[in-house]
Amino acid sequence: MSEKSEKSEKSEQNRLSVFKTYKLYVGGKFPRSESGRVYEVTSSKGEWLANAPQSSRKDARDAVVAARKAFGGWAGKTAYNRGQVLYRVAEMLEGRREQFVREVADAEGLSKSKAAAQVDAAIDRWVWYAGWTDKIAQIAGGANPVAGPYFNLSSPEPTGVVAVVAPQESSFLGLVSVVAPVIATGNTAVVIASEAAPLPALSLGEVLATSDLPGGVVNVLSGRTAEITAPLAAHQDVNALDLCGADEVLAKELEVAAADNLKRVVRPQPVDWSADQGTHRLTAFLETKTVWHPTGSLGASGSAY
């Protein structure tokens, strides 16, 4: 809590506010880092905001275990059901709008109205991705007219566990824009929050925990980006990496490590988070499965219609 907002709270309510202990979100629970470490998170003006957990290699591995455990159930839900759950996230975010506006304003040094615009756009983005769950197969899959008597259908399926390096600058709109598409299609995620501005991400965990989203589908870690991402990039049970928030040098190192089990990798690139995001981040973490089946033959006779 910044000094300024604390002051105004005191004058308004004449009471001392209660600070929140920011915690990780792993497997549907809110643990501290197993390492016992925290680091100081400050506002863009350098004011102390909170002590955030500084996740360790072990925390990262625990998060992968949780994400893997949640994968089968989440991928196995109907697309409609996943859409309902994602929409529920948007409903819960709307209810916590003021909190996120404050956190984004503090984290990114934005005016209240600019922060509010970011949060509104983030809520609408959840809604946009909620709508994609049962539509992506209709634009990324389809029947293939093979030259033979075969039924041939391609369908997208989720890749698996995706490690997401959230954008460093856009602490909430950017975060939402990289997390929602991963889980919309049935993947599960280990999210590494912005190193300097992790609080909106940690608060997002609290929203997800109360949105019918099964535990482990999204896991949120805060700490030193390089320290947490290295074991994830090398992890044999991680299927894909979104390197959005990694700098050039780190991104290359992680991509090299990721090659060991051929993780699908989305490289960092400049993104205008306020613009239409297209379907790139949805399709990046999908596998296409094509099924063939003979159609048999009824012979030359039959209907003349």
């Binding site: 946009w128 709508g131 994609w132 539509k135 634009i139 039924f151 159609t295 009824l298």
Partner: protein, 485 residues
């Protein structure tokens, strides 16, 4: 109903489990819903809507005339300007709100629908209402993704859609019409059927709760002449109709020579084809759901059973045994399988066609069941010894009447299945995957169910070949009907 002593002596005596009516509050009268307000008809006309299970009058409803149609179209036209200019994401959020409110009020709407339509609460609660909410949810998501739908960049709405829906799935047909129309940026004037206007009027209240801008949805209860006035109105850009093939043809004639885009979901005479290797018990369940779901008042009903000769006896024995267990009666009873026929008029039509079947020499069998003394009822019935020339094999009965024909080879099955003016649905029952696909490939029908029947989903396109109409509702394909493409 058995008294207490009797129940004790006979522990297996049937005990009704009626759903409570108190969840729904039906007003003694309803107006037209035009430009966000309930209003009387210009000429003051009203009509009564009754519960087909009891013939009790449920409410008195304003009956829209030509002047009201004109007012509604003007309101829709005015609303179109802003509605179509809204960002897709904003239209999406209105539709998501509507979907959520429908979910919240689904038990109330299920009871209402059962009262007004006569179908079992089991169906309105477990099929109609979940599908209604899902349909709005699905199309809500399309509203801001139209660029991805395969119709080119920035596809445009048509304008004012005139929509006329039937009485067999009143709220579901409303959802099929209104959800894609609104998602794509059109505004609507919708006429519910004269025997089932209430759920559409409750939907008007849902639009109010959702804060939908005035004039975007207009509801005009009335009879055929109201529908004809909507279809013929000069300022309507799109006509969508679900109903009989005869009326569909009349509408096609009306819009001929205009710029109105037309989609029609009409009648059917679905063939349910059972091969000798089919799992019989599973097929029997599918046949029952295919023709007795919603008392057979379903355009895609599997009303022609085509059974391979070698398994005919076994299948019919099982089928008759199963039909004997269906429970016909109070639609609000949660155990009821077969509810009331929607109207006296429809009951008369079914009765006449069944009599024709007998007169033409087909063999009639009905499940032994007692019919209630008031209301409109028809026992589950099947005809055997049916040939392709029989009226009961050709005409859509739109009731709980199944015609059984036989075949020897897959070719013969396909030929018989396709020997119809209709082409809406078909079913295939066999354990052999390649046969399913080969037969499906040859069927001239818009929906083919294999080892299942009467499955619906908002993501899945639905619509007919031939005189079952044209255009598709549901899925990505369903957007096309409301886009200028």
């Amino acid at each position: 109903m058995a008294d207490k002593t009797e129940t004790l002596n006979n522990p297996f005596e049937y005990a009704p489990a009626p759903e409570s009516r108190s969840v729904v509050d039906i007003a003694p009268s309803y107006g037209l819903f035009i430009d966000g307000e309930f209003t009387e008809a210009a000429d003051g006309k009203v009509f009564k809507t009754v519960s087909p299970a009891t013939e009790e009058v449920l409410s008195e409803v304003a009956q829209a005339g030509a002047a009201d149609v004109d007012r509604a179209v003007k309101a829709a036209r005015k609303a179109f300007v802003k509605w179509s200019a809204l960002p897709g994401a904003e239209r999406a959020k209105y539709l998501f709100r509507i979907a959520r409110i429908i979910q919240e009020r689904s038990r109330e709407l299920a009871v209402l629908e059962t009262l007004d339509n006569g179908k079992p609460i089991k169906e309105t609660r477990d099929a109609d209402l979940p599908l209604v909410a899902a349909h709005f949810f699905y199309y809500a998501g399309w509203a801001d993704k139209l660029d991805h739908a395969g119709y080119g960049a920035n596809p445009q709405p048509l304008g004012v859609a005139g929509q006329v829906i039937p009485w067999n799935f009143p709220l579901l047909m409303l959802a099929w019409k209104i959800a894609p129309a609104l998602a794509t940026g059109n505004t609507v004037v919708l006429k519910p059927a004269e025997t089932t206007p209430l759920s559409a009027l409750f939907f008007a209240d849902i639009c109010r709760q959702a804060g939908l801008p005035k004039g975007v949805v207009n509801i005009l209860p009335g009879y055929g002449d109201t529908g004809a006035a909507i279809v013929a109105h000069d300022d309507v850009n799109k006509v969508a109709f679900t109903g009989s093939t005869a009326v569909g043809k009349e509408i096609a004639r009306t819009v001929a020579g205009t710029d109105k885009k037309l989609t029609l979901e009409l009648g059917g005479k679905g063939a349910n084809i059972v091969f000798d290797d089919a799992p019989i018990d599973q097929a029997v369940e599918g046949i029952v759901s295919g023709i007795f779901f919603n008392q057979g008042q379903v355009c895609c009903a599997g009303s022609r059973l085509l059974v391979q000769e070698s398994v005919q006896d076994e299948l019919l024995d099982s089928l008759k045994r199963r039909l004997g267990t269906l429970r016909l009666g109070d639609p609000l009873d949660k155990n009821t399988d077969i509810g009331a026929i929607n109207s006296a008029e429809q009951l008369a039509r079914i009765t006449a066609l069944a009599e024709t079947g007998e007169a033409e020499g087909a063999e009639r069998w009905s499940a032994p069941c007692e019919l209630p003394t008031s209301g409109y009822w028809f026992a589950p019935t099947l005809f055997t010894n049916v040939t392709q020339a029989h009226t009961v094999a050709r005409d859509e009965i739109f009731g709980p009447v199944l015609s059984v024909l036989t075949f020897r080879t897959p070719e013969e099955a396909v030929a018989k299945a396709n020997n119809s003016q209709y082409g809406l649905s078909a079913g295939i029952w066999t354990e052999k995957g390649s046969r399913i696909l080969a037969v499906a490939d040859r069927l001239r029908a818009g929906v083919v169910w294999a080892n299942t029947f009467n499955k619906f989903d908002p993501t899945s396109p639905f619509g007919g070949y031939k005189e079952s109409g044209f255009g598709r509702e549901g899925g990505r394909h369903g957007l096309e009907a409301y886009l200028d493409v």
